[in-house]
Amino acid sequence: MVPVQWYLLLAAAVFCIGLFGILTRQNALLFLMSVELMLNAANINLVAFSAYWGNVTGQTFSLFTMALAAAEVAVGIGIILVLYRNFDDVDVTTAAEMRW
């Protein structure tokens, strides 16, 4: 059996890739994908610990999280569409109206 540490390392790596994406990309679609990566890193953790403790609650939770992620993507795509309609672009740095 693979020890739980490997899973945690994998999850941390996926999370950091997502975080890196958010901090460096300007395209809103890439933003959305990066957020998905981070969310799935958390899912990996849930499943890994669920297997480690021999308890299926964590896996059930991860199913719910996936459904949640789908809904979140729907909202996110909606926001990106509005962004495109208003700024003719999906670059998040151009939409900087709400500032001081």
Partner: protein
């Protein structure tokens, strides 16, 4: 069975009801709501008479009716009624005078075609109601509230003709000057509450009783000996009295208040506003009697005011001005009487003065109607034959004011002076000084009173209007006759000198005030207090000797006026006084002095205070806020609007939190 005391609240509520009716529906009622006011005050008068009879049967009513702040451990604030002989007597005076003033107003206001009558009668109703509420108040706070209401009503009524120039400013002056005194009164009320925890006038735990106990026990208050502290508190409350009763130096509002309608002047001077001050001292006399210093100051202020006001009355041209100064002077006598330990004497003078001064003002009102609202006495003359009813009633009032035997004012003024004399000779130079000033004022009173009578009614008419005066109707003559008879006879309730000479029992007012169910409110008890705490002792002087002395002076004054002014074409003899006349005519420059005080002393102080406020106080506040403003203007730049920056900040924050938790939690140890 329901007795008089169960209906007693209606005495106050009836005029208040008339106020509401006149205010809401006066313009739909005949005579602008006058009949409602007459009915209400007549009802109050009947109820007051009933209360008077019940009180004379030996009953006293002292109940709390409505508690509006239930204090628990702390102070309880409530409305209540205190109906003892003093209050019952005052109720009768106020109701009667108010009723007659309402009737007289039919002639003075309605018949003269004044507009705004609903406002006028509403004002009269509220004025009467507030004074009655003040009279029956069973605690000092309630008394203070109605005291203020009285002040408000005087403002509304003095400024009744608000479209002219004079009345509004006179109204403002009356309000502000009395408010200045009331400020001290308010502080005094708070001091009473802080000292005793109650402001009840009568009963077991009332503040005069507590004060007496504290004196016996030697309790100290706020680091003061009890008597010193009571003097301070008493003098604070006296501030309100001096303002309302127009005593020196706060008397300046009263002559200006003549700008109001004459019936209102009658009401203010005889029964309501001005009487409130003296009544307050009488009401809490059990407290004042404990402090000889406060009493001495009351007597001195009273005597001084009596003399100063009388001298100013000598030179005035307008009939109402003379009466105004006579009012100030007469209330000075009452204060002198109270300060001199003459509780009954002062109350007696309050009673007689209410009738003869109401009479004189209403008589002056009749003259003013006749003269088509010309008040200058030098344009009058010879009205005696044209308006005999007014003349003879006015004469009755004048004889009472001057203190000529056997009219009402003689008996009461004489008793006031007698009390001041005997207690002064008993070892109080302060009272003796007050007596001396009061005695000199008697001469001036006689002089100005008869100068007024002779100039108005005797001699040849000095103007066309005086040759053909406007007639007056029953609604003017009726009140004059009632008051004229009273002014002549009411003094008979208390003829101490006659009693001493003949041995017939004639001091009914002494009996009336000496006994009662609540022994702490009787004049007997006050006498004991004066003797035990104020150390008043009486010298043995026969009252008829003192009486003869003041009578001689009054006759001398009246005689002087007769010689100088009872001729067909009198000269302005007061001109011969030269600089003194100018000084008196300008009221000792009191108004100018007070304006100077305001402009040259108070205004610079206010300016400095304003500078301090704007510079230092506001400066500190503005400084603090400018720091926030500056910091905000810098820190707000964090909000760039770029989503990525927010994400960076979030990440950095999370990292920082993790590092802190790690350090604190010991992960790196």
């Amino acid at each position: 069975m329901a007795g008089a005391f169960d209906y007693a609240p209606a005495i106050v509520l009836l005029p208040f009801l008339s106020f509401l009716v006149s205010l809401a529906g006066g313009k739909y009622l005949p005579k602008g709501g006058a009949f409602g006011g007459i009915a209400a005050t007549a009802g109050s008068l009947v109820l007051s008479a009933w209360v008077f009879l019940t009180v004379s049967a030996g009953n006293v009513y002292n109940e709390t009716l409505y508690t509006w702040v239930a204090g628990g451990e702390a102070t309880t604030l409530a409305f209540g009624l205190l109906l003892d002989p003093l209050a019952a007597m005052m109720l009768l005076i106020v109701c009667l005078v108010s009723l007659l003033v309402h009737v007289f107003s039919l002639g003075y206001m309605n018949d003269e075609g004044e507009t705004g009558l609903p406002r006028y009668y509403a004002g009269l109703g509220l004025f009467t109601a507030s004074m009655l509420g003040f009279v029956v108040a069973d605690n000092l706070l309630m008394a203070f509230m109605f005291f203020e209401l009285v002040g408000l009503c005087s403002y509304l009524l003095i400024g009744f003709w608000f479209r002219e120039e004079g009345p509004p400013s006179a109204a403002k002056k009356a309000f502000l000057v009395t408010r200045f005194g009331d400020y001290f009164f308010l502080v005094g009320v708070v001091a009473i509450f802080a000292t005793f925890g109650t402001a009840q006038f009568a009963g077991e735990g009332s503040f005069p009783v507590l004060a007496e106990e504290a004196l016996n026990a030697g309790t100290t208050y706020f680091g003061f000996a009890p008597q010193t502290w009571f003097t301070i508190v008493g003098l604070l409350i006296l501030g309100g009295v001096i303002g309302k009763s127009a005593q020196f130096p706060l008397h300046t509002w009263l002559p200006d208040a003549m700008e109001g309608p004459t019936p209102v002047s009658a009401l203010i001077h005889a029964a309501t506003m001005v009487a409130a001050g003296v009544y307050l001292v009488a009401r809490m006399y059990g407290f004042y009697a404990l402090s000889p210093t406060a009493l001495g100051i009351i007597a001195l202020v009273g005597g001084f005011t009596a003399l100063v006001a009388a001298t100013m009355g000598v030179v005035k041209r307008e009939i109402k001005q003379v009466l105004a100064y006579s009012t100030i002077s007469q209330y000075g006598y009452m204060m002198l009487g109270l300060g001199a330990g003459g509780y009954v004497a002062a109350t007696f003078h309050l009673l007689t003065h209410a009738f003869f001064k109401a009479l004189l003002f209403l008589g002056a009102g009749a003259v003013i109607i006749a003269m088509h609202h010309d008040e200058d006495m030098w344009n009058m003359g010879g009205l005696k034959n044209k308006m005999p009813v007014t003349y003879y009633t006015f004469l009755s009032g004048s004889l009472a004011l001057a203190g000529i035997v056997p009219f009402a004012g003689f008996w009461s003024k004489d008793e006031v002076l007698y009390e001041a004399l005997v207690h002064g000779l008993g070892g109080s130079p302060l009272l003796l000084a007050g007596y001396a000033m009061g005695l000199v004022a008697v001469f001036f009173t006689g002089f100005y009173t008869f100068r007024m009578v002779f100039l108005t009614f005797h001699g040849e008419p000095r103007s066309d209007v005086a040759r053909d005066p406007h007639g007056v109707r029953w609604n003017v003559k009726g009140p004059l006759v009632v008051l004229g008879v009273l002014a002549a006879t009411v003094g008979f309730v208390n003829m101490v000198p006659v009693q001493e000479l003949t041995g017939i029992h004639l001091e009914y007012l002494h009996d009336w005030l000496a006994h009662g169910e609540i022994s702490a409110l009787t004049s007997e008890h006050y006498g004991e207090l004066l003797h035990d705490y104020a150390h008043y002792t009486s010298a043995d002087v026969a009252s008829y000797v003192a009486g003869a002395m003041s009578l001689a002076l009054a006759l001398a004054g009246a005689g002087a006026a007769h010689v100088l002014y009872n001729v067909s074409d009198p000269d302005e003899h007061t001109e011969k006084l030269g600089a003194v006349k100018t000084l008196w005519y300008n009221n000792y420059y009191q108004d100018e002095y007070q304006v100077w005080l305001a402009e040259s002393v108070v205004l610079p102080i206010s300016r400095v205070a304003d500078k301090f406020d704007q510079g230092v106080v506001d400066g500190v506040v503005n400084g603090v806020s400018s720091v926030s403003l500056f910091a905000g203007s810098r820190i707000r730049r964090v909000q760039t609007g770029v989503v990525t920056n927010y994400a960076v900040l979030l990440t950095l924050g999370l990292t920082a939190l993790l590092v802190v938790f790690g350090l604190v939690g010991g992960w790196f140890a």
